[in-house]
């Protein structure tokens, strides 16, 4: 796939400045102002509100199989999710997911 190089550089620059500004915002600029309760209440859920919706299609219709649902990838996703929730650990999720993926692919040939 050919990528639009200008777009990539704009995305990198925009993310760099934007992310830095977010990290610096209160510390450097806004100071001791309290974030209102309603804002905190929504900010707590930003990551879990975006990331699951972003990856759900990638798990159901993976690019590696040309968009065909794949039992090995589905099982790997389920295993990674279960272990990540159970152990509350990202490492457990990554390794159990990859091991399941390769094991099921090997068994199904």
């Amino acid at each position: 796939m050919t990528l639009d190089q200008t777009q990539i550089w704009i995305v990198i620059a925009g993310m760099a400045f934007g992310t830095f500004f977010i990290r610096w915002s209160f510390l450097g600029l806004l100071g001791d102002r309290e974030l209102p309760q309603w804002a905190l209440r929504h900010l707590r859920y930003t990551a879990v509100a975006i990331l699951p919706g972003l990856i759900a299609p990638l798990i159901l219709w993976p690019s590696g199989t040309g968009g065909e649902p794949d039992p090995a990838r589905l099982l790997a996703a389920l295993m990674a999710f279960a272990m990540g929730m159970w152990r509350k650990s990202a490492l457990w999720a990554i390794f159990s997911g990859l091991i399941t993926l390769y094991a099921v692919q090997y068994l199904l040939g």
Partner: protein
């Protein structure tokens, strides 16, 4: 060396030690990001520039996915930065401890204000009531210098050698697994779970909306669901 510098130096190493275990968490994400970025076709320079300047795995993966989906630049930026909005909360929470640091120091503190350093510092700083601002800053920067070099190095290894990994290893799926690894441990409470479920259902239902805009709308709905669920639980308790 003055005694002030000696004290700050020991705070620096304490921060370094406290954050060091999280190298184990950051490094696999860095490695996977390097692999995924190369897989997508980003050059080594692009991959490394992003990883050094952004240091935020989830947002970086988000950008990759949306670039692959040919989303418009503005949507990519809005979605990736929305993933990082939680860091405004970190920034605000650090003000009571680090708000009096010098302007230049604050630039460095902001650069290192990532999930792991903030998580560690938000536990330790409230306990060290005797620490000066210089010590607190040294502690925070020590934590940042523990993790960031390994983040950068692991991204480099992934980007440099990822292309040599054969397709049988299904590395296209490394990215979804990384996301699951970020999401699953974060589902600590019922509102978090409800927000995540809403996000999936709404994103799939709204996927017909052009320019990947459906995801942003789904995210907004999911945030409101999480916040409302939290309010509802609080009211029920009292």
């Amino acid at each position: 060396m003055t005694s002030e510098q000696t004290i700050s130096k020991s705070a620096f190493w304490e921060g370094y030690r406290d954050c060091a275990p999280f190298i184990l968490v950051a490094a696999p994400f860095g490695l996977m990001f390097g692999v995924a970025a190369t897989e997508l076709g980003l050059s080594l320079i692009q991959t490394m520039t992003m990883t050094v300047l952004v240091i935020a795995g989830a947002a970086q993966f988000t950008a990759l996915i949306l670039i692959e989906e040919h989303a418009p630049t503005l949507i990519i930026l809005a979605t990736a930065l929305a993933v990082n909005l939680r860091m405004a909360m970190y920034s605000a929470a650090l003000v009571p401890y680090l708000g009096k640091a010098r302007g230049r120091t604050k630039l460095l503190l902001a650069y290192f204000n990532v999930d792991q350093t903030f998580g560690v510092a938000s536990v330790r700083l409230p306990l060290e009531t005797q620490w000066t601002v210089a010590q607190r800053s040294a502690y925070f920067i020590g934590g940042g210098l523990a993790i960031t070099p390994f983040w950068i190095l692991s991204t480099y290894l992934g980007a440099a050698f990822g292309a040599a990994i054969p397709p049988e290893f299904s590395l296209d799926f490394a990215m979804p697994i990384c996301f699951i690894a970020i999401i699953a441990p974060a589902l600590r409470t019922l509102p978090h779970v409800l927000a995540a479920v809403t996000s999936v259902v709404a994103a799939l239902a709204l996927s017909w909306i052009p320019f990947s805009l459906g995801l942003l709308i789904a995210a907004a709905i999911a945030m409101v669901v999480g916040a409302q669920a939290e309010l509802w639980l609080e009211r029920r308790k009292s």
